[in-house]
Amino acid sequence: MFQLDLKNRKSIYEQVVDNLKELIITGVINPEDKLPSVRDLSKQLTVNPNTIQKAYRSLEMQGYIYTVTGLGTFASRPAENKIDEGMVLTIKEKIRSGIKELLYLGVSFSDAQKILEDLMLERGGWK
C-alpha cells in the first residue's frame, strides 16, 4: 500500500499516520473503504503491530477513520464541522516555511499572493 523510509527522521508511527492520511485525503482510499487490519498491515510493512495500532487510534481521534467492532476499520467521510486546531497550526508552519523561501527567491508580495490563491483554486470543494 505504501513504503516506509527507515532512514527518515520521522518515526515509523508518524510515517504510517501521514501515509494513510495522504491516501485518504487524495481519495486513493475512498470514504467507507475498508482499511487493512492491524495484523495484516503490520505483516505487510514489517512494522510492530503496536505501532500500527497506535497510528490507527490517532487517525481515529483525528476523524480520518472509524472502527466497527467485529467488522474492521473504515475511512470516514470528510469532516463536516470538526476542525483539528493542532493540525491547522502544523500546516500553518509548513506554509510559513514555504513563504520564507519565496521571499528569499525574490518573489514579490503580489506574486506570492497569486501563487497561494492559484494553489487554493486548484482544489475544489472549499466551504
Binding site: 527522521r9 495484523r39 514489517t46 503491530p49 503496536n50 497506535k54
Partner: protein
C-alpha cells in the same frame, strides 16, 4: 508480562546489577540498550533463569522464572554466544527441541530450513557463525515461544536474512501476541521495530519508556537570527546548547508545539526542528558523563 523489581546481583566483589527495574507489557517488542558492560547480558541471563539474583524479584506472568520448567517451556532464548552439541546436525537438534518444547511446530521448522537454505544433515559445528545464528533462530521460532528473549540477535547476519528474521518476529507478535525482549547495539534497527525502550547504565535502569513518547519529547533545533535577541530561549527546557558561528544548536525537552511557539515569537531567520534519533538520545543520555564523546557526536 515481564516484571523485574529491585534486582541486585554481585559476582564476588563486582556489583553487576543494582536495584534494577524492568517492565515489558504483553505483546510488546522491547529494546534493551546500554553501553558495553552495562549489564544487558546479565539481566537477560536472570530473565531466562540461568542466574539467580541476590535480591529482588523476577516475574513472568506473575511467576518466578528460576528453576520453573513450565515457564521455560514457553520461552525462547537466543544467547549471544551460541552453543550446540558438537556432533549434532540441525535435524538431530530439532528432535531435541521437540522433546523440550510442547509448542514445537514441525511444519514451520521444515518450511523455515528451506527458506533459510540450511542443510539439516550437515554438522552444526561446520556451519559459519552467521548460519549458526540462523539455525538457532529457526529452532527457537519453531518452538513457538510466548516470550522471545534475544541477545544481540542480528549481529553478523546479512541484510536479507535480517529482514526475514524481523518479519518472523513481527508476524508472531501480530498473530499470537508474542512478547519480545531484544538487546542490541544496532539502534537504528531497534528504532524501526521496538515500541518500548529501556536504557540501562551501570547495572540500573536509567530510562524506560514508550519509544514514540520518548521521541516526541526531545528535539534538536537549529536557530539563527539576523539580530540575536536578548534571551530568546526563555521557557524552554534546554538539555544541551552549542553555538557554531551564528547558528545555535539546542537539544530541548519540550513538546514540539511549545518549542515552535516560543521560537517563532522571537522571529528567527532560520529555524529547523528535528526529532532526535534513538542513537542521539542514547548518546545524549549516556554520553553525559563524558562530555568529549557527546561533543564529537552531536
Amino acid at each position: 508480562m515481564i516484571k523485574i523489581t529491585g534486582v541486585d546481583k554481585s559476582f564476588d566483589e563486582f556489583k553487576a546489577l543494582t536495584d534494577l527495574d524492568l517492565n515489558v507489557k504483553k505483546g510488546s517488542i522491547y529494546g534493551l540498550v546500554g553501553v558495553n558492560g552495562a549489564g544487558k547480558t546479565t539481566i537477560i541471563k536472570h530473565l531466562t533463569g540461568i542466574l539467580k539474583q541476590d535480591y529482588g524479584q523476577i516475574l513472568i506472568d506473575d511467576e518466578p522464572v528460576y528453576e520453573n520448567i513450565k515457564m521455560k517451556e514457553k520461552m525462547g532464548f537466543i544467547p549471544d554466544d551460541l552453543y550446540f552439541f558438537s556432533t549434532y546436525n540441525l535435524k538431530e537438534m530439532s528432535r531435541f527441541y521437540k522433546a523440550l518444547y510442547p509448542g514445537w511446530d514441525q511444519v514451520r521448522f521444515d518450511f523455515m530450513i528451506k527458506q533459510f537454505s540450511l542443510d539439516p544433515v550437515r554438522k552444526l559445528s561446520k556451519f559459519s557463525k552467521g548460519m549458526q545464528k540462523q539455525a538457532a533462530f529457526v529452532l527457537t521460532m519453531s518452538s513457538k515461544p510466548e516470550y522471545l528473549i534475544l541477545d544481540e540477535p542480528i549481529d553478523g547476519l546479512d541484510p536479507i536474512i535480517r529482514k526475514l528474521v524481523w518479519k518472523y518476529i513481527v508476524e508472531d507478535v501480530a498473530e499470537r501476541e508474542m512478547t519480545v525482549l531484544v538487546s542490541s547495539h544496532n539502534l537504528r534497527e531497534l528504532e524501526g521495530i521496538c515500541d518500548s525502550i529501556g536504557i540501562i547504565s551501570k547495572g540500573s535502569m536509567l530510562l524506560e519508556r514508550d519509544l514514540d513518547e520518548l521521541k516526541a519529547d526531545v528535539h534538536k533545533i537549529q536557530i539563527a537570527y539576523k539580530v540575536h535577541p536578548e534571551n530568546p530561549y526563555a521557557g524552554l527546557n534546554i538539555l544541551h546548547k552549542e553555538t557554531k558561528g551564528t547558528v545555535d544548536l539546542l537539544i530541548v525537552r519540550n513538546r514540539k508545539e511549545v518549542v515552535e511557539e516560543i521560537i517563532n515569537e522571537s522571529k528567527p531567520a532560520i529555524f529547523d526542528i528535528l526529532p532526535l534519533s534513538l542513537e542521539e538520545i542514547f548518546i545524549y543520555e549516556l554520553g553525559g558523563e563524558n562530555n568529549e564523546i557527546t561533543e564529537i557526536i552531536l
